[in-house]
């Protein structure tokens, strides 16, 4: 029973971390129409910021500050936001596609930095020994407690995202997304609003990165894969329903459950076939995205703009 419960808790914890990421992307793409194709960059910055601030000293990478997680996590969110600020300031006043290209670029550069700046990130060896909150409770309760913490963070982010979507600020973001000229005519500055939404979303992603690093207790370049850290998040949001915060969470949980289940199924196959099954899954998830875009562009639960109170 216990191994099963632990496995289930692992799946749910990762689903929760993905939910935080998807909520961040929903703020950017769903609400504001910003194409961020580099969630990986913000996850990486958040993960390494929190890892470096909390681990013990080591000659292999920067560290030794030994801060508690509750101090490091907000700073991880801040790091995500700070990375987003210049990128957004440069590319958001231009065409929407330019942000997509710029974010792909920043994600690649972050991957290079992570791999090459050994003094900072430990290079290919990464940063081991990141403390996981509530570890002291032992198994399985420590892991359940961490799941509860992630769930609480996601609930908090959801409440904030809902409040944002309902606020005049959120209405302005939707107005800019749907008709920029009309929003301009109403005296709004689209570039400034877009930048705020982009930075807020990036902060969510930085926080998700921190939660990921502390869950794995390790952060290295191999943990940052464009497929799982960027593409999967897009599939989750579009499957769940762009523009709908509940849809973002639902999509994250549903797609992650599918991803983990197929991972488990593929693991049952013998050696070589298991590797190939992973590629089949990659193909199918790409195909699934296409089918959703074609036949159900609103996702599982589409956007429901709140009525003004």
């Amino acid at each position: 029973m216990e191994p099963f419960a632990l496995y289930f808790a692992t799946i749910l914890t990762l689903a929760g971390i993905y939910a935080a990421l998807t909520l961040g992307l929903n703020l950017q793409w769903g609400l504001t129409g910003l194409m961020n194709f580099g969630p990986l960059a913000f996850v990486a910055v958040g993960a390494y910021t929190s890892a470096i601030l909390t681990v013990g000293g080591s000659a292999q990478h920067l560290g030794g500050f030994g801060w508690p997680w509750w101090l490091a996590w907000p700073l991880a969110a801040l790091a995500g936001a700070l990375l987003a600020l210049p990128i957004g300031a440069i590319s958001l006043r231009l065409r929407a596609d330019y942000l997509a290209i710029a974010t792909i670029g920043i994600a690649e550069i972050l991957r290079l930095i992570v791999r090459n700046e050994d003094w900072l990130t430990g290079g290919p060896l990464g940063i081991p020994g990141i403390p996981r909150p509530f570890e002291g409770l032992g198994l399985p309760w420590g892991q359940f407690a961490y799941l509860a913490l992630v769930a609480a963070v996601v609930a908090g982010l959801y409440a904030m995202a809902q409040a944002t979507a309902r606020s005049p600020f959120g209405r302005t973001l939707r107005a800019i997304r749907d008709d920029e000229e009309a929003a301009k005519a109403a005296g709004k500055n689209p570039a400034a609003f877009r930048l705020q939404a982009f930075v807020l979303g990036a902060a969510c992603m930085g926080l998700a990165g921190a939660m990921l690093a502390h869950f794995f207790k390790f952060m290295g370049p191999d943990a940052l894969d464009p497929v799982t850290a960027t593409f999967l998040v897009w599939v989750m949001l579009i499957a769940g329903g762009s523009g709908n915060n509940l849809g973002a969470i639902l999509g994250a949980v549903a797609v992650w459950a599918l991803w983990a289940a197929t991972d488990w199924l593929a693991g049952q196959l013998p050696g070589e076939l298991a590797t190939r099954a992973a590629y089949v899954r990659l193909f199918l998830i790409g195909l699934a995205l296409q089918l959703i875009l074609l036949y159900r562009p609103q996702g599982l639960i589409g956007e429901r703009p709140p009525r003004p109170a």
Partner: protein, 294 residues
């Protein structure tokens, strides 16, 4: 000086020629269909691996395998357009971009599935470089430069001298006007995909000849292709080609020891040059060198 020419300028020109072909394809699709085609990099990969199949099956050299690469890549572009992009034509450009991202992953998945993640090569072995006095140039570099020049010339003749090319330029300038004046839109789109796929396959095979084949081959230069296309003014294939040349030179020169024996930029960060160029263009000249589309 000679070192600069042999080890930085010539490789820079070669890389630039490859970027030029890739960027011209990206720019062409952007001009006619008005979306950033993130599938372009993986079309390059597809072409390079198609050439590998021909090399292995027929025992020919990769240069001779180029037509096979082109012929294998065009149907992929057409199929993706028929299955996905064509049906989303009325959707926002953003949706098309996301769709092309998904299609890119599907292509990559097939390449991974068939060929695995291990790097491969065309088995050309070591060929001694040609010497022109003190100037050394690798044979493959000479071929790539000549091949890229031929491809660029063919593209130029197509766009400038043929009816079909005029129709493509008309679509890029004003799609609605083109439609009402009787430009066969569906045919122009098919032709655009064919040309873009051919350029991608050639660029991909050249890149694989110069480096090695991996399933990430094309995706790794997608950023460079877009940076070059934006530098040249997006939607303008000639500008994109020039942008590609400049970017390739900049990338290689970035690791030249200008500063007292230290490279300007560690070679590991070469990719960052494309990003830096992109950022500089977006800040100082977002319309590109040759006024791209809005």
């Amino acid at each position: 000086m000679l070192e600069l020419l042999n080890f930085y300028l010539i490789p820079g020109l070669v890389l630039g020629a490859i970027y030029a072909l890739a960027a011209a394809g990206v720019s062409l699709v952007y001009g006619v269909m008005r979306f950033a085609n993130f599938m372009h990099g993986d079309m390059m990969t597809w072409g390079a691996y198609a050439a590998l199949v021909a090399v292995l099956a027929l025992g020919i050299s990769p240069w001779v395998a180029l037509p096979f690469a082109v012929a294998a890549t065009i149907p992929v572009a057409w199929a993706a357009d028929a299955a996905f992009f064509g049906r989303l034509r009325r959707a926002a450009p953003a949706v098309l971009l996301i769709s092309s991202f998904g299609a890119a992953l599907m292509i990559r998945a097939v390449v991974y599935f068939v060929f695995g993640p291990t790097p491969q090569n065309y088995g050309q072995g070591l060929v001694p470089p040609l010497l022109f006095g003190e100037v050394r140039i690798q044979q493959r570099h000479l071929f790539i430069l000549a091949g890229a020049a031929l491809a660029a010339l063919a593209l130029h003749l197509l766009l400038a001298r043929t009816r079909a090319g005029r129709a493509m330029r008309a679509m890029a300038d004003d799609p609605d006007l083109a439609r009402v004046t009787g430009v066969p839109v569906a045919g122009v789109i098919r032709l655009t995909w064919a040309v873009a796929a051919a350029l991608a396959a050639i660029a991909g095979t050249f890149l694989a000849i110069d480096t090695e084949l991996t399933p990430m081959l094309g995706f790794n230069v997608l950023l460079a292709a877009f940076a070059a296309a934006i530098l040249g003014g997006i939607g303008r294939p000639w500008g994109a080609a020039l942008g590609g040349l400049l970017l390739g030179l900049a990338e290689e020169l970035s690791s030249y020891p200008f500063l007292a024996g230290e490279p300007l930029l560690q070679p590991a960060y070469k990719t960052a040059v494309a990003f830096a160029v992109l950022v500089l263009v977006l800040i100082f000249r977002p319309q590109g060198l040759f006024r791209g589309m809005g």
